[in-house]
């Protein structure tokens, strides 16, 4: 008790030390501070991470009286000048980060290791510069790590009750695991890895329950276990996870910067949304402009023609150019012409999903057309051009099917909200464009061509505005009876599904290179860190990097574990049994579980193409600290505390054993803790961003040559 109290106290001290410094926006506080402000203003925003941790920040901000009117625009913006109660917001991750330390200690104790070993693992996290740096700022990782360690703790407690299944206690820890798992997942996208790790452990557990050689493992028993876990570890977390989004949507009811990511239907559920306010039906013979959804250019044409021969030797049709143009211009005006008979008045004149239309370029009085001629830049796509209005020789080739995305039969096309595709009737290509400029002969405008792939995302357009109606009537008010400017409610599950899908897509799309992004293979050895913040005047900087003693110990611990397991397997294959059974079981079941969690939180990053940072390793680092403790125990002692699981009615009583660490255990851990603390203090100026360092000191602090610190003295 004393030990854990002391550890927790030191943890709080280290994480709250000078928490008000720097009084500037640091690194990703740009994002997460901003999101907290949006919660307070109730304006809709979009982010790739689930909302739980950000909701906590929003709550913390609201609690300490932040009014949301500071926008966290740039790294280095000053908080004090703008009266932002940032210390309160930073206190939240600092508290959670500090509490991670006793949780790590508790995991080790519950797993049957002695106080000394538990303190060893806890101190690796306690004196870690990376965890401290991450916990002192408005960032999501402290929350993630805290809930992840709570999940592990709950699962360990749950496993220890396996001989008294279905007792109230057993249910309690099962549900706790599920709830904490959902909180981890709800904090950050990569929390899903915790779900996978627990899932893998549960599968192994279920596999053992299926084993007929164990007594009492009937099929009926298995089904009950399976159902209980499905309820506690799938259904409950899902409900908790969904409830975060429910709160998210319930708070964010106003239109905000996230609108444009969402579907028109979603946008119309937000108060004050542009689309909601300015969406009109279109009638035939209206003059409109067509905007490309992804690249925001308008469909454009002008009297100039395609050159006969391009630079690469291919020839064109020499027809009138059709391009994409980013600015308002009369040459963007197109008239919607019907291909069927229309009634003189009334709703029969409305343009609808599935109609076949012609588009008349108003200034040159010619129809949009595409044909089997390769486009200027892409030999695989068709060229678009126009054809004079009164020449009927190619009438059929000017027909386009108009498809509105997600529309039902006969739904009317609306400006802004109706995302549409124009599919050429004879050749089935879609009107398409991409960010490629045509050469000088087309004034560097964007190339427009016909894409054969009918589902390509780049083929989505919408009607930006109605310029005028044919008979000059007031097109804004002709449908006034049917317009309704109140937000249209949308089903929560639809909203959730849409947002979740977008989050995944955008997460995968974060592939731009970043100067401090790193490859996962570097992480266990922390070959490179991240520069969070710098201040030139005093040569202060925050450089995110771990405690080199702690991290390398963890890496060694993992390698030793793999060595022991490999040696044991080989020896057993030759029918030699060097490790006594209780010790071996502890190695496989307890330490093996930690290694599994480490692996699941680490390895998937190798498969990701998005930009990755050292802080993605933090959850794995915590588990590797657990592994290091277990391995240390194995090395200094031949015995384990045994048994540690609660005995059930049918389990045989076993003689109690206690691990004997002798004197060398505490000595090793003591010496190690001192080394750890020394390394921590040495790097501390980079973690706390104070005091400023001169060039020589910076050079001295650069323990690995791959660290890119600022203000380093030039070596001459």
């Amino acid at each position: 008790m004393v030990t854990v109290g002391v550890l927790t106290a030191i943890a709080f001290a280290l994480r709250f030390y000078k928490i008000n410094h720097p009084d500037q926006v640091v690194f990703d506080e740009v994002h997460f501070g901003k999101f907290a402000a949006y919660y307070i203003l109730r304006e809709y925003y979009f982010d790739v991470h689930p909302p739980f941790a950000k909701l906590l920040f929003g709550f913390a901000g609201w609690f300490v009286g932040f009014d949301g009117h500071f926008s966290f625009e740039n790294i280095g913006d000053n908080y004090t000048e703008n009266h932002v109660p940032y210390v309160g917001m930073r206190a939240l991750p600092a508290i959670l980060g500090s509490l991670t330390v006793p949780v790590v200690y508790a995991i080790m104790k519950e797993s049957g290791y002695g106080t000394v070993i538990a303190a060893f693992s806890a101190s690796i996290v306690l004196f870690d510069n990376a965890h401290v740096a991450q916990s002192r700022l408005i960032l999501l990782d402290a929350t993630l790590v805290f809930f992840m360690s709570l999940t592990i703790y709950s699962y360990v407690r749950f496993r220890k009750l396996r001989y008294v299944s279905f007792s109230p206690e057993w249910w309690g820890w099962l549900l706790a695991t599920g709830v904490f798992m959902a909180c981890t997942w709800g904090s950050k996208v990569n929390g899903i890895l915790t779900v996978l790790a627990i899932g893998a452990a549960v599968l192994v557990d279920l596999w053992d329950l299926l084993d007929i050689r164990q007594t009492g493992h009937t099929m009926d028993n298995f089904t009950r276990h399976f159902a209980a876990r499905a309820f506690g570890l799938i259904l409950v977390p899902l409900i908790v996870y969904l409830s975060f989004f429910w709160v998210h949507f319930a708070i964010l009811v106003k239109s905000g910067p996230g609108d444009t990511f969402m579907s028109p239907q979603f946008q119309e559920s937000l108060t004050g949304n542009d689309m909601l306010m300015n969406s009109h039906e279109i009638r035939y013979y209206d003059t409109i402009t067509l905007m490309h959804k992804d690249t925001k250019v308008l469909l454009h044409s002008h009297a100039e023609r395609y050159p006969l021969r391009y630079d690469d030797g291919r020839v064109s049709s020499q027809g009138q150019q059709v391009t994409g143009y980013g600015h308002a211009d009369e040459n963007n005006w197109w008239q919607v012409v019907p291909t069927k008979a229309l009634p003189d008045t009334g709703r029969g004149r409305i343009v609808r999903h599935g109609d076949v239309i012609q588009l008349l370029h108003v200034n040159t009085q010619s129809y949009l057309l595409t044909h089997d001629v390769a486009s200027p830049l892409m030999a695989t796509n068709q060229e678009f051009t126009t054809w004079p209005k009164d020449d009927y020789s190619r009438y059929n080739e000017t027909h386009f099917h108009l498809y509105v995305n997600g529309a039902h039969e006969g739904e009317a096309l609306k400006t802004k909200s109706g995302h549409l595709r124009l599919v050429h009737a004879p050749t089935k290509v879609s009107l398409w464009t991409h960010r490629e400029q045509l050469p000088d002969w087309a004034f560097k405008q964007q190339e427009v061509n016909g894409e054969k792939n009918p589902s390509d995302k780049g083929a989505t357009w919408y009607v930006d505005e109605i310029i005028s109606a044919e008979d000059g009537e007031d097109f804004l008010n002709r449908t006034s009876a049917s317009t309704n400017k109140d937000p249209k409610p949308m089903n929560f599950f639809k909203k959730f599904a849409e947002l979740q899908l977008l989050m995944l897509q955008h997460n995968a799309g974060l592939t731009a290179s970043h100067p401090y992004a790193s490859n996962p293979i570097n992480w266990p050895f922390m070959l490179s860190g991240i520069s969070f913040w710098t201040e030139n005047a005093d040569q202060k900087q925050i450089y995110f990097i771990g405690n080199i003693v702690g991290w390398w110990t963890c890496a060694v611990g993992l390698s030793v574990f793999i060595g022991i397991i490999g040696g044991d397997l080989l020896a057993r294959r030759r029918e030699e049994f060097p490790i006594p059974d209780p010790v071996r079981n502890r190695l496989w079941n307890s330490t093996g579980f930690f290694v599994l969690v480490w692996f699941v939180h680490y390895f998937p990053f190798f498969l990701m193409n998005r930009q990755l940072f050292l802080h993605h390793y933090l959850p794995s680092h915590v588990t590797s600290a657990l592994v290091a403790g277990a391995v240390l125990h194995f090395l200094v002692s031949d015995t384990v505390n045994y048994p540690i699981s609660k005995r059930g009615h049918f389990t045989k009583p076993k003689p109690r054993e206690y691990a004997e660490l002798g004197l060398k255990g505490p000595i090793i851990v003591g010496v190690f803790a001192v080394a750890l603390f020394a390394a921590f203090v040495y790097i501390a100026p980079l973690t706390y961003g104070t005091p400023g360092l001169d060039g020589e000191t910076v050079n001295a602090k650069r323990l690995l040559s791959s660290w890119t610190l600022h203000f380093a003295a030039k070596n001459t």
Binding site: L570, R573, W588, F593
Partner: protein
């Protein structure tokens, strides 16, 4: 994770061995089979002519006749009108071109290793091809190209795959009917036919995959019988050579290596558990396999590259991918020796170290945006516009005019403040607070040429030299700048940014040369520069000179591997007919190879074969999963000899299929349907394994009849889609009728 209780299996014969029938009839002798095996493991094998079939392939003379008939059918199917179309089809654009390059000995870089391309070149060379055709566009008509003999090579290897499949299944202890079924299904597989009729690498790849698998099966049969005999060693070495050939055709061959590697690990694991095998013998097993299955393939692979380098001795279009040292080894790129000592006033060319963009370059054209001053770029070729003069920036007066007024030689060290004068246009290398034209980000500044004759220039022309490292063989070069040896960075004096370049091309106004900027967050490798040519008026004629060192074979080999890897990973552009792996087993979409004169060649499979093989894979994995679950519940399926036999057979083929298929999911590069073909080969063998299992209780005649029906259905399918394989005329209605899936996008 309780330790699993392993039921001890009888140690001999090892698991995985079909227990069904004694294929090797016991010889009369005083030892029983177990004792003989034990004796053999100890190396005391009796040295007599063995009575068992070579590699376990006991094939009757009747079967040989059958096999000849199958080969004749396969030849007819694959060689039919091979000369049509007489124009370039699909990737013949590339591989035809590479053959031309080989014959012209002009260096090129491709993402694939050389073996298959060398074979195609050989075919072309023997038919007297002169290398003058450019294979520019799909559909271009052949003139003076022996394209039929070039196509003969993949076609022949495609034909050879058919009997290999037969023999492999026989070696895996399947019945002759089953093996016949497999060989005919492969014969009439439209995808394999189409792919083997053109100058493409996949047919050699599939052939070598089939060959390596066949040899491995033979080796396993020998190994079960008696290790360390001459024949055992031959099969093992041949397997190694086969693996070398696969991986030298395409890197996909690594999956074949993985398949056989897993098989080897399993063999060794089983041997390790056999306590009668002493550690010394086990180590012998281990080293024999390491030698033949790791060292031999690597040597083979490297030998192919050696041939590649020997042939491509002259400079060509691939130069730009390679380092300066490498280029120096190619004819037409050699450089005269140049002075080693760089000093104030030296006339130099400066090369960017990390990218192969070339030399720091400027020319009399201005940036269209930003400062609108003169462009500074990287230019890969030698040119007088690459020449700069190093001028002392701390000199008083007009240093650009008086640069030769200095007394003696002033060497450049770290911290030296210099200006760089572009000789042709008399402008200084300059940087200032404008965003560069393409990389418009905050931490990069534009670099331009600025100034005029007689103008001293301003402080923005000043750069500090920082030597990063020197050449280890020339210790002096890490203390002061020396030609070729020293790699240095140039820090802009006023803004502290580093002269930087990266693989970003300027638009057409910059002649698509590489962008040069000044970067405040420069990654080290991209801000390193070196001096390649150096001349100074005051240096005596006998001053030390240097030149590039000729890289050895290993250095060249390793460099080329890296270039191939990065180029391969960079093939991420979309292609109209690319597809993702998930669509392959269902044959969702093919590839349009060629369209001309209302005829089309479209790579698609034989739907029956394709779908049945996928069904077989799914059936096996489902049944195997069920069996594992059942065994956990105490059922003893795995003690049934029939289950054991077919599990070993299908398990091997399933691993082959999985390892040739699933890794593609991890690849971000553009992928095509034809990448599935090696996996398809395993899937078809698997289909036949499942057939063998399902018909094992039937009478031979009935089995033959069922096989006949399947073959007839396959031929019917083949005939429907054959116009797409041969590019023969087709009526529109037939074409539309055969569009069974909406996603098959031929016929529009």
């Amino acid at each position: 994770m309780a330790p699993s209780v392993r039921a001890r299996r009888p140690a001999s014969p090892p698991p995985g061995l079909p227990h069904a029938a004694p294929r090797f009839p016991p010889r009369q002798g005083h030892l029983d089979a177990d004792e003989r095996r034990a004796a053999a493991s100890l190396g005391f094998g009796p040295s007599r002519k063995s009575a068992y079939a070579l590699g376990g392939f006991s094939i009757t003379p009747g079967e040989w006749k059958l096999l000849v008939a199958v080969v004749i059918i396969a030849s007819a199917v694959r060689l039919f009108r091979l000369s049509k179309p007489d124009s370039v089809v699909f990737d013949e654009v590339h591989f035809g071109k590479f053959a031309s390059r080989y014959i012209k000995t002009r260096y090129f870089v491709d993402v694939h290793p050389p073996l298959a391309k060398l074979l195609i070149t050989l075919a072309a060379f023997l038919s007297g091809y002169d290398g003058n055709f450019d294979f520019k566009d799909i559909g271009k008509s052949y003139e003076n190209v022996p394209y039929v003999s070039m196509r003969m090579l993949p076609a022949t290897l495609g034909i050879a795959t058919v009997p290999l499949s037969y023999l492999t299944l026989r070696g895996l202890d399947c019945r002759a009917t089953t093996a016949l079924l497999a060989s005919l299904l492969i014969t009439f597989e439209n995808g394999l036919i189409t792919q083997s009729r053109h100058i493409l690498l996949d047919s050699p790849l599939i052939f070598f995959t089939a060959l390596a698998t066949f040899l491995w099966v033979g080796f396993c049969n020998e190994d079960k019988h008696e290790p360390f005999t001459t024949r055992w060693w031959s099969w093992l070495t041949l397997t190694g050579l086969g693996l070398g050939a696969v991986v030298s055709s395409k890197w996909v061959g690594l999956f074949t290596i993985a398949t056989i590697g897993l098989g080897t690990i399993k063999q060794l694991w089983v041997l390790l558990g056999d306590l009668r095998v002493p550690p010394r013998i086990w180590l012998k097993h281990f080293w024999a396999r390491a030698l033949c299955l790791i060292v031999v393939p690597i040597l083979f692979y490297m030998a192919m590259f050696q041939i590649h380098f020997l042939i491509l001795e002259n400079s060509g279009e691939g130069d730009g991918f390679m380092s300066a040292e490498f280029q120096h080894t190619l004819g037409g790129h050699s450089m005269a020796d140049t002075y080693a000592d760089v000093a104030m006033g030296s006339k130099v060319t400066i090369r960017h170290v990390n990218t192969q963009g070339g030399y720091l370059h400027s020319h009399g054209h201005n940036y269209p945006g930003g400062s609108q001053q003169q462009q500074v770029t990287l230019y890969p070729h030698q040119d007088t516009n690459n020449e700069w003069r190093i001028i002392n920036a701390t000199q008083t007066g007009d240093p650009s005019a008086d640069w030769d007024q200095l007394e003696g030689l002033h060497y450049i060290t770290t911290g030296t403040r210099i200006k760089l004068r572009h000789l042709a246009t008399e402008k200084n290398l300059h940087s200032h607070d404008f965003r560069p034209p393409v990389s418009e980000v905050d931490f990069q500044n534009e670099v331009s040429g600025y100034g005029m004759p007689g103008f001293i220039g301003d402080m923005n022309d000043d750069w500090f030299v920082e030597i990063d490292h020197g050449d280890r063989r020339d210790p002096e070069s890490s203390r002061r700048v020396r030609t070729l040896g020293s790699q240095f960075r140039l820090r802009h004096a006023l803004t502290g940014c580093y002269l930087f370049s990266h693989k970003v091309k300027l638009p057409s106004w910059g002649f698509e040369q590489q962008e040069v900027t000044c970067n405040k967050n420069a990654v080290r490798p991209n801000s390193l520069w070196m001096i390649e040519k150096n001349d100074h008026t005051k240096l005596p004629a006998n001053a030390p000179k240097v030149n590039y060192r000729n890289p050895g074979f290993l250095a060249k080999f390793w460099e080329l591997q890296q270039v191939m890897w990065t180029t391969n990973a960079g093939l991420t552009d979309r292609h109209t007919f690319d597809s993702r792996p998930s669509s392959w087993p269902m044959l969702r979409r093919g590839i349009n190879f060629w369209v001309k004169d209302h005829r089309q060649i479209y790579l698609t499979g034989n739907p029956l074969v394709w779908w049945l093989s996928t069904a077989a894979v799914l059936a096996y994995s489902a049944i195997r999963g069920l069996l594992v679950l059942r065994s956990q519940r105490g059922y003893r399926d795995f003690e049934n000899t029939k289950v054991v036999k077919y599990d070993a057979l299908c398990g091997f083929l399933f691993i082959g299929w999985g390892l040739h298929y699933f890794p593609f999911f991890l690849m971000g590069r553009q992928l095509f349907l034809h990448h599935y073909l090696p996996a398809l080969y395993f899937a078809i063998l698997m289909l036949c394994g499942v057939f063998d299992f399902l018909t094992s209780t039937l009478r031979p005649r009935v089995r033959l009849q069922i096989a006949g029906i399947i073959i007839l259905l396959a031929i019917w399918n083949f005939s429907i889609f054959s116009p797409l394989a041969y590019g023969s005329p087709w009526t529109k209605s037939k074409c539309t009728d055969s569009q069974w899936l909406k996603t098959w996008d031929f016929s529009w």
